[in-house]
Structure formats: C-alpha cells, structure tokens
C-alpha cells in the first residue's frame, strides 16, 4: 500500500498460459471457497505476483473477484437454507474494525522494519495461526469422523451461550443464542487476519464453529456473507486508486463462478464433517508452505546467511506446496461428492429393481 502509484501503470500483457493458469486456479479456488467459505486468495495473490503483476494490483484484482464470487456462493447456499445472514452481518461489522486495525499494524511494522519485516510478519502470522487453528480443526475433524461423523457443539460454546450478558442475540439459522460481546472478538480476528494474510475465513469459520457453537455448514455459508461485505468494501477502496486490473479479475471470475456453485452444491451431498476435514487439511499444508518462505525474509533482514540457490528453491517449493494445498482440498471435495452421488445412484437403482420385481 506504500508508494503504489508508479507501479500501477505496469499492467501485464496476457498470454494464453496466463489466462489458463488464472482460470484454473480461479475454478479450484471457487470450488474450495464455495465449500468452506474462503480460500483461493492465498494462491491467487502470490500466483499473480509470480506472473509479474505488481503486488497491489494482484491484491486489488483478487479482491474484486472475491466479492462477486462470495455473493453468488452465499446466494446459492442461502437457497439451501445454510446461511445465517444476521450472523454474517454482525461479524462483518466487527471485521471491518479488525481490518482497519490490521492495516495500522502492518503500517507500523513497515515503518519500523521495512518490506522484509512486513513480509516476515505476514508469513509468521500465517504459520502460527494456521498451525494452531488448522491443527485443531484437523484434529477435531479426525476425532469426529472416528466417532461416527456426528458433530458436537464444543463445551466452550455451550458455556458461552449460558452467560447472559446483554445484549443477547438469537441467530435463527445457526440456532444459537449468545451475547453480542462474544461475537465481536470473532469478527475482529477475522478482519485482522484478512488484513494480514488475506484469508479471514481461516479464523472466522473455526471461530463460529468452536466459540459460537454454529454448525460447520452454517459457519462456512455465513462466512461467504462476511467475505462479500469485506471484499466489496476493499474493492471500492482499491478501485478508487485505480488498482483493479479488470482483465485479471474477469478471467479468475469466469472460473470461480463455476467453482463456487459446484462447491455450494457439494455441501448438500457430504457429511458436515467433510467441511472441517477440507479446511484443516488446507490450513496445515498452507502453514508448511508459508513456513518455507520464512528463510527468505530472515535473510533479507540479515538474520541468517543462507545461499541464494537454497532460498530460491525454498520459494519455489513454497508456491508449489500452496497450489497442492488447494488441489488436495478440491480433490477431497470432488471425491466425497462423487462418492455420495454414486451411493445415491445405487439406492435409486435398487428401488427401481424392487418396483420392477413387484410389477414386472
């Protein structure tokens, strides 16, 4: 966000491979975010930057594709009765504050330690938050699937719901009655993370599940509402500076609108626990990926003195692992959808056979 004006003129030329890359990543990112409420941005932004797009333009174009995608996904999942609009709106409001604070922190770090310090801060936040939260989500998903796949509300959420601290809010779709004061930190953390690592949902969705006690279906769906509002506000800000490369946005959008609908349909096929599995898996792998990027910034800050070739290798590995994270998420979603669809077809065939036997 610092001194972006001179960079802004350098919009890249599009080649066929660029278009294909953006379309495919857009599709897979859309699929994942339709399913777990967020995702895709963590690959798209660095991906675009590796294609030569200036950082600010990459962030702006990505954000400009994120809000219409979230809107379509939220609408689709609202039709399935999964979205708690009130929950989304309240969290989005506090997330707005979180974003502002997050930007202030970024600015402060940038002034104090420069570009490398800021990048290090971003990567370290990635690693710490994703390892802690993602690890817990993954552990919980694993535990749930071993005990039959039925989700249970955490004791923390049950305890918080019992505390009568006015104003109390009732979220109808989520079927949760909780004090407004407990929703604010979740929204705030979501915004803070969104401003730092661009994927607020990695805190927002687990927050809704484990702290507020909403189901993973409702949480991931309501996250799309938050993503829409924050993405829209962010886009307005970036577009006012003329940073949005509409061509990049539209190519990504072409893929992601297809993906987000498929992801939303996917949630109606699978057990709720699959949402947690996908989310936990992606978060843990992304954490590894960002961990590999840390040495570069440490070298820039002259904390370590590794060889350049090692750093380049680590950076390449980091990006590839990030793509793998997204791809694995997509594979789990498609695989579980395919399995559910096959089971459905088998059941239909059996019932048709029974009728045939009876009247054939």
């Amino acid at each position: 966000m610092h001194d972006i004006a001179p960079e802004a003129i350098k919009f890249i030329d599009l080649s066929l491979s660029t278009i294909a890359f953006l379309f495919i990543v857009g599709f897979i990112g859309g699929l994942v975010s339709g399913f777990i409420g967020s995702g895709g941005a963590f690959v798209l932004t660095p991906g675009m930057m590796s294609l030569g797009v200036p950082g600010a333009v990459a962030v702006a174009s990505n954000m400009c594709h994120k809000f219409p995608k979230a809107m379509i996904g939220a609408y689709k999942r609202w039709k399935y009765g999964q979205v708690d609009i009130k929950l989304g709106l309240i969290l989005a409001a506090s997330a707005g504050v979180g974003v502002q604070v997050g930007i202030m922190i970024q600015q402060w770090i940038l002034d104090k330690w420069g570009e490398a310090g800021s990048n290090l801060y971003v990567s370290l936040s990635f690693v710490v938050i994703l390892v802690v939260v993602g690890g817990y989500v993954f552990y919980d998903a694993w535990k749930t699937s071993r005990s039959g796949g039925e989700e249970k509300v955490t004791s923390l959420a049950l305890w918080l719901q019992k505390i009568n601290l006015p104003p109390m809010v009732h979220f109808k779709t989520a079927n949760v009655r909780i004090s407004l004061w407990f929703t604010i930190p979740i929204g705030f953390a979501t915004g803070l993370l969104a401003a730092t690592i661009a994927v607020g949902g990695f805190v927002g969705v687990p927050g809704m599940i484990y702290v507020l006690g909403a189901s993973s279906l409702v949480s991931s769906a309501s996250e799309l509402v938050i993503a829409f509002i924050m993405g829209f506000a962010g886009t307005v800000k970036w577009a006012m500076h003329g940073m949005v490369d509409i061509r990049l946005t539209l190519i990504i959008l072409a893929g992601s609108l297809l993906g987000v609908q498929l992801g939303a349909i996917g949630t109606t096929y699978v057990k709720e626990n699959v949402i947690k599995i996908v989310m936990g898996t992606i978060m843990v792998i992304v954490a590894v990926s960002r961990g590999l990027a840390v040495p570069q910034y440490l070298k820039e800050l002259k904390v370590i003195s590794w060889q350049n070739s090692t750093i380049t290798f680590l950076n390449g590995a980091s990006f590839i692992i990030m793509c793998i994270a997204l791809a694995i998420g997509a594979l789990i979603i498609m695989g579980s959808m395919w399995k559910a669809k096959r089971a459905e077809a088998l059941a239909a065939k059996e019932s048709a056979l029974a009728l045939e036997k009876s009247y054939g």
């Binding site: 307005v236 577009a239 539209l250 054939g360």
Partner: protein, 281 residues
C-alpha cells in the same frame, strides 16, 4: 409396502378357495362383495402420463385387496385433446403411441393382479381430465372412489361427478418432481446456451476493447464504479450460466427426500372367533 404385499399374496395362494370365507383376517367388506360377484365395486386410478404412478397403484392394489374391489387404470393425455378443428396426423401418431404404451403397461398390471384375484381394466382417454373421468364413470358402473397420483388436484378430476378423490403423494411425489425436472431438460439447455452466449458476448466486448477499458477502468476516483458494476453484471450473467450448466450436467443438490413413510399396517388379526353358520355340521 412391496414386501408386505408379497406376503399377502403368498397367504392367499396357499389357501383353498373354500377356505376363503373362513379366513379370520378377511375383512367383512370382501365377504359382502364376494357374495355378489357379478358386479364388483371398483377403484379408479387416474394418471396424467402414459404410465400410472407406482405409488398410487401400490396403494390402490392394497386397498382393493382388502376391500375386495376391482381396479380401473385411467391414463389421460391432456395435451392431445382435440380442441381445434385441425388435428395433425402427427398428433394422431402420438395418440397411438401413447395408447399403445399405456395398454402395454396395463396388460402387465392386469396379469399380475389376476393372480391375486383382482380384476383390472385399462382405459386411455385424451383431453380434459375431468371429462375423461366423467366418461369412464358413465361407461363403467360402481366406481366407489378415485385415487390420483401426486400432482393432480381434486378439482381437476371431480368436475361433473360426485365421487371421493384421494391423492397419493409422499415419496413417489418427490420422484415425480424429479422426473418433471428431467423432462424440462430442453429448457435448461436453452437457458444454458442463452446465458452462455450473453456471458461470452460481455467477455468479448470487454477484451476486444481492452485498451480503452483499461484506460477508463483504472482512472480511479469515481471511475471505480466501472469495474465494480462490470463484475456485478458478469456475476449475474455468468453466474446464471454456471448455475444452468451444472443443472444440465445433472449436478444439483439432491432433493431432501423424507424417509419413505411406513406402509399402513393391516389391522391385527382378530383373536375373537366370529360365529359362523355351518350347514354341514
């Protein structure tokens, strides 16, 4: 329900005809009706397509077996009614096809039900549902009530006649809805193509003039409305295209089918022996 019917079927096969009247499970109605076998009472099963709904037939067979009634299956094609003077040969061909298929299915059902001692007659009509039912009611006497498959309203059937109408919905009703969606396949394809073309046109227009577009879209300030409005339009058009595309490809949210309701249980066998008149003892 099907398993249950097989059981009943097996029981009856094992019985001698003479024992039929002594069966303590046999309800009173069937004894009465078997007393005057020359004009059996009937249930009319009405369907709009060229096959009857399995669920409606199932239900009617069950009922007919318990009551000792016969069945009439009526298939009505409401689309091929002769409304105007002009009636194309193609439509006659369609009528023939419809009637043939309906009769073929009717034959199958008839054979099956004959084994259980239930009479079955297949009737095919074209045009208005209510009129068709009234005609059948005139031609065939002693229709006691009407069973319709899901999706047919009572008022449609019960125009000129005074018979009770029961509609069978539930699990099969769900199935019917999905069938309807399938038969609208062409509409889905049309919409997919339409939105696809519209979406392609928007993309072409923007990328064809990408230099001009980029110049204005990145001016900042109030020009920010341009990219935002564009993504909104694209998300509506392209979003609708992708929605219909997945529908056409058959990837859609499964309809939440409520578990199939358990078959109505037959009344428990009476333990109290009913007095029987026996001449030969």
């Amino acid at each position: 329900m099907l398993g249950f019917m097989k059981k009943v079927h097996g029981q009856e096969e094992g019985q001698q005809p003479g024992n039929r009247h002594q069966d303590p499970e046999m309800p009173r109605m069937s004894q009465e009706s078997s007393g005057k076998p020359e004009v059996p009472r009937k249930i009319l099963v009405v369907g709009r397509g060229d096959t009857l709904d399995e669920e409606a037939i199932d239900y009617a067979v069950n009922l007919a077996e318990r009551l000792g009634y016969d069945l009439i299956g009526l298939n009505v094609d409401t689309m091929l009614g002769q409304k105007s003077r002009f009636f194309s040969p193609y439509k006659y061909h369609l009528r023939d096809k419809f009637a043939q298929h309906a009769q073929a299915v009717g034959e199958k059902i008839k054979k099956k039900l004959a084994q259980r001692g239930i009479g079955y007659e297949q009737v095919v009509k074209f045009g208005d549902l209510g009129k068709a039912v009234a005609e059948v009611n005139q031609q065939i006497k002693r229709i006691e009530f009407i069973i319709t498959q899901a999706g047919i309203k009572e008022a449609e059937v019960n125009g000129g006649i005074n018979l009770p109408v029961f509609s069978i919905s539930g699990y099969q009703g769900e199935r019917k809805m999905t069938n309807e969606a399938d038969s609208r396949g062409f509409g889905e394809v049309g919409k997919t193509v339409g939105f696809g073309l519209a979406s392609a046109a928007i993309y072409a227009a923007l990328f064809w003039n990408s230099d001009t577009v980029m110049q204005y879209f990145t001016k900042g300030a109030w020009y920010a409305a341009l990219p935002i409005a564009t993504v909104f339009v694209v998300s509506f058009v392209h979003g609708a295209f992708s929605h219909h595309l997945w529908e056409v490809l058959g990837i859609q949210a499964p309809k939440k089918v409520a578990p199939r309701p358990a078959a109505a249980k037959r009344p428990a066998a009476r333990t109290r022996p009913r007095p029987q008149l026996r001449i030969d003892t």
